[in-house]
Symmetry: C2
């Protein structure tokens, strides 16, 4: 069975949307990536750090999804990373209300021995030095390395980000971040410029407007599923990344054609994530629901048009 | 050969974008619809009005595309409708700088006798009373009536708009207008509500983010082609509507499956329109370019994914 190594935060989130608010609930990039990737027939492990305040029940939740969490360090006396945010009425933008790094401040990732030869590495949003440190620990070059990052690191750790970008195959970022990183407004031009920074594949996430995959002159687009209601967008991008990397790990095929399928699976899984607060929907998501929604994605996007004179 | 009847403005536009500005150039909804629909193997006619100041060369341009303009009234001593606008840097929004109704203020549309039995009627953006008046003149019920409108009529002539909506099969509006008309933020909910106002098919145009087609529980989505540069978005929505209605008129098939194809053709033609100022690109567009871009749309959206256990 192919192996997917996930690095990223395992954390507490407190979320406000127009539909309600939560106290501290389970969150973090690696959590969402792991839950999403658990739908594939692969072995997966998370490398992360939490404090002593992190509930055993949350760890059990990950274990029960067959995720290896031996690489999740529990810091004695430490407090878990905490993020709190409030979404605006259109759910397309949000304000960060609070960020407490806590144990994340001194995080030194340790890749479990069984995963130093992972087939696919998914570097979730974290300091680029931490992302690089994970790659340093790999004993064989993974078949695919996927990097997720955000504007915060472009502002505060650009040299380190540019370093790790040279070592990855795929980067996933949102449209505004692609513009910031490249200095280009056109996403086509932005992707071309980001290619020159390292990643052969550039995935630009546009939230409710779908996702684009660029590879040289090839482009593929998958829409987000039009939903009656988006309840909470938290974790949608990570869930997308988990679906993408999980599907690639399972199929062990890094052709452009198969990456299209990975983008569709990522969009599919993300469409569930936003239906409820936090990880709730992903926790009880069943495989038959994912397959049924895949049919919806086909109906939504596939057409049969003949060329005409 | 099937007949498409187009009603809408034939006008002067003056446009400012971050890339430059134009003096008075050829514009108007019916102009863009007509140019776009001219790529199909159909007969088409425009019903509109211009002033004596309207250059014969512009009328020749339409004639040379085999568009019947016997229904374009030229008002002696009258001045042609004029619109002037400035696009913001992101090209997603614009300010109207000037609107001079001129001959449009007293426009009484007259459908040419040869087109009172048109197969498809495309009601371009105009006062809903003018749109209704065109339908009143039809001697046989068209196979498909498509209505385009805008927020201006929702603000100033809502009862008349609701009247004409009851008489059409398809409505095309943009996302903000769909929200305004329905009072629903979710586009899925908005489309469902607009269905109840008359149109069995609701097309929501999202500009650079593509277009959605709703019919009962069916949804189809076509992206806009990712372009290196969008030069001038003026007329893109009308070009989309022209491609949609022209394709339906040619194929004479109003199944949902064929409407998907019409949406793709609309998106295809609109992707050319925005490449240059005003109607420039559409004037010299050739059929082989449209067919070649159709292949790009297939590559952009089509995937081949198998269901898995």
């Amino acid at each position: 069975m192919n192996k997917l190594l996930i690095v990223g935060t395992v954390a507490f989130d407190a979320i406000e949307t127009p539909f309600g608010k939560t106290d501290k609930i389970l969150g973090g990039a690696a959590t969402y990536i792991g839950l999403s990737a658990s739908f594939f027939n692969i072995k997966s492990a998370i490398v992360s750090v939490v404090g002593e305040d992190f509930p055993e029940a949350y760890l059990d939740l990950l274990r029960n999804k067959n995720i290896d969490i031996s690489g999740v360090e529990v810091v004695k006396g430490g407090k878990t990373f905490f993020w709190s945010g409030r979404y605006h009425n259109d759910l397309n933008s949000r304000d960060t209300l609070d960020t407490q790094l806590n144990v994340l401040a001194d995080f030194q990732p340790k890749v479990p021995a069984d995963y130093t030869d992972a087939d696919v590495v998914m570097l979730g949003n974290l300091h680029p030095i931490v992302q690089s440190s994970v790659l340093d620990q790999m004993t064989t070059r993974p078949k695919l390395v996927v990097l997720d990052t955000m504007n915060f690191w472009m502002d505060c750790a650009l040299p380190e980000l540019l370093d790790v970008m040279k070592r990855v195959d795929v980067i996933t970022i949102n449209d505004e971040e692609a513009r910031q990183l490249s200095g280009e407004y056109s996403l086509v031009k932005a992707a071309a410029k980001i290619h020159t920074m390292g990643p052969k594949y550039v995935v630009i996430k546009k939230g409710e407007h779908g996702a684009l995959l660029f590879h040289d002159k090839d482009v593929f687009f998958a829409p987000a599923l039009p939903l009656e209601e988006v309840f909470d967008p938290t974790g949608a991008g990570d869930t997308f990344a988990g679906g993408f990397s999980g599907f690639i790990a399972q199929s062990e095929n890094i052709s452009f054609g198969n990456m299209k399928n990975a983008i569709v699976y990522g969009s599919n899984l993300a469409s569930f994530c936003v239906e409820e607060f936090g990880t709730q929907r992903m926790e009880r998501l069943e495989k038959h629901e994912v397959l049924s929604r895949l049919q919806q994605f086909k109906a939504l996007t596939q057409f049969d048009i003949a060329l005409q004179d």
